[in-house]
Symmetry: C2
Subunit: 381 residues, 2 copies
């Protein structure tokens, strides 16, 4: 028996209470019993999204909802500005191209956040841009973008601001209504602590206006159909009932802790993780604006990053993530996301110290753990 | 405490073994452990689909996969022939129209199957039709279409044959390879006995050829991306991991019973249900070609169909389905689909007898149950 720990940036661990909720007998979705559950979920989602707007629920992974924002907001030939500073930012561009939208890229070095001023400049230069697509936490690089700053720049422009908050929601402060975010996308298997399979979108009035004008094809991911059904706490198509039931449990837990405490917990775990890896002589990949959902670390010289991640999983039972695309083998990523506590950070440091040591990297055992502990102790104060 | 019974045509009851599998700790999908599970699922799906072709898995409801067939097979302006004999047949037409495809309807009276000869005639008349869309079991009417006959008609034509087998798969004989079906669509919450949230598509070589020519936009539902990932028992986007794990359990159960026995069980339960309702003096809605997944029954004169369904659920704890669209209040539908046994049929008859009796319909208590029992006894022979 080897105990297993899941510290990847999604899927994230699911609390036992939530897993047990999923093992209840299935119920039909066109019943008062289901609508009551979904109504509770919908109220909870508005709280977690920090929005007065409705939150639409889709049975799909986060990418489905990302595609939904393209298909529901735009028309053929529309211009969009896409911040590309990681795999998920790039994905918006790929979807836009698949739909025949004119994608204007704003390339940012992977590992760095986008400068709101650069978005402002692009908006001025290009004119008639319909939407700006960016990411709260770019999961592939561990970078947090300044959404508040970006919102301040986009708000006076005709363009709507679309934010992929898939891995950021529930892990870091995010106030779309205050920050003038028009469209927020999220997924179930990150901060919301349930298995993958649900995705969410909420839209401002400015966002809905664009939906009214959109001419791209959509059906299953139709925001309009989903909004109409939502009024009766219903869905246009059969939802993943067991995941919605799981979400009710997870929402309860988040409400009990209080969203600001949830953010604070993530901030503390992230800081402890950063302190731990730094104390081991490792370098943060996203040192300028590290996210609180996941910490990306450069693989040190002479170490094979793929082997590091493999040994973490196979020898230590700790699943973390490697790098994606051109970062494969060059970074590793430790998540502290969702159902995560302080000893998830210390065990990650322990496992990392042992794996690095075995790979011949000079490491003082316990040093990373100690550095993390110091942060964790301070935060209790 | 009132025991509850789910006899609706999806979601269908989930066996306890499957529910318990879903309450296992979540695992990451980019691991050998997951790929082993998904590989087992994929083998099982090919068996249940009775196909040598790969079966693609999507995280969506069945409608997502239906949309996938339009978006992945067609190009703007393509002509398609859509058999419209119920709500789900009509849905293909709606999706086609949303995507700018020319939909040629073949309208069939709700409650009747389509005549293969009528499809042949339309194909001759119209020419250059790219695809024919029809339904194995039209869930909204309880009609079984003669897919074998339709396959024989379409096979020599340029058009591909797309079959919505969402509620029919695993409930009635279906041999897409032998019958020359090019594209089969299915869902998780019907004969596969797991909760909603997964959908499936398998394609013949002729189907894949059309995919290669298609110009309609797709990304999340891309068949090509999904096929490439499937080669490594992987997914292009995060799948609903817990549902895939559930599916492994359900697939095991179906294999253990043997697919032909599963079909035979459904045939027997369906026949018993038809005998039961007929013995109560009720009339089958789809008398000409009733499906083995769900039995649609006309609401007798003087009875409010909506109240009947409501009383079944609220007074008897038995969830059945009412009519959809213009059939609302005019029919009710009892499913015998997936995890269903003989006493699901007899309890449905019991509940129906009591509800009808209370609503003032002249019914001899026990008569429907007895008629069902006679069929069930015979089938043991």
């Amino acid at each position: 028996m080897k105990k297993k720990y899941l510290l990847a940036p999604g899927p994230t661990p699911v609390p036992a209470e939530v897993l047990m909720a999923m093992s209840q007998p299935i119920i039909h979705h066109r019943t008062a019993a289901y609508r009551e559950i979904f109504s509770e979920v919908n109220e909870g989602l508005k709280y977690i999204f920090q929005t007065e707007n409705e939150v639409l629920t889709f049975t799909s992974s986060g990418t489905g909802a990302m595609e939904g924002t393209i298909a529901n907001l735009l028309s053929p030939g529309d211009k969009i500005l896409v911040v590309r500073g990681g795999k998920f930012g790039e994905r918006f561009g790929e979807i836009g191209e698949a739909y025949g939208v004119e994608v204007i890229p704003l390339d940012v070095e992977w590992g760095s956040p986008v400068e709101p001023a650069d978005i402002a400049r692009k908006l001025e230069e290009k004119g008639d841009i319909k939407a700006v697509f960016t990411t709260l936490c770019e999961t592939s690089t561990g970078v947090a973008n300044d959404i508040k700053g970006i919102g301040a720049v986009v708000k006076d422009h005709e363009a709507v601001l679309v934010v992929d908050a898939i891995s950021g929601l529930g892990a870091m402060e995010f106030k779309p209504d205050d920050w003038k975010v028009d469209v927020t996308v999220a997924g179930s298997q990150k901060g919301l602590m349930i298995p993958p399979g649900l995705a969410f979108v909420s839209l401002s009035e400015k966002g809905w206006k664009l939906v009214g004008e959109s001419k791209l094809p959509k059906y299953y991911l139709s925001f309009e159909k989903t909004r109409i059904s939502l009024k009766k706490n219903d869905h246009p198509f059969t939802p993943a009932v067991s995941l919605v039931i799981a979400l009710r449990e997870a929402v309860k837990m988040i409400k009990e802790e209080g969203l600001e405490n949830v953010w604070e917990r993530h901030a503390c775990l992230a800081e402890a993780t950063r302190a731990g890896v730094t104390a081991l002589g490792l370098e943060l990949f996203a040192s300028q604006a590290p996210a609180n959902a996941v910490t990306a670390v450069k693989v040190p010289e002479g170490i094979d990053g793929t082997v590091l991640v493999k040994n973490m999983r196979e020898k230590q039972g700790v699943t973390i993530a490697g790098g994606q695309a051109h970062l494969k083998g060059k970074i590793f990523r430790i998540a502290h996301l969702g159902y995560a506590g302080q000893f998830d950070v210390t065990l990650a440091m322990s496992a990392l110290e042992m794996v690095l040591s075995e790979l011949g990297y000079k490491v003082e055992l316990g040093r990373g753990v100690a550095a993390a502990e110091r942060i964790l102790l301070e935060s209790k104060g």
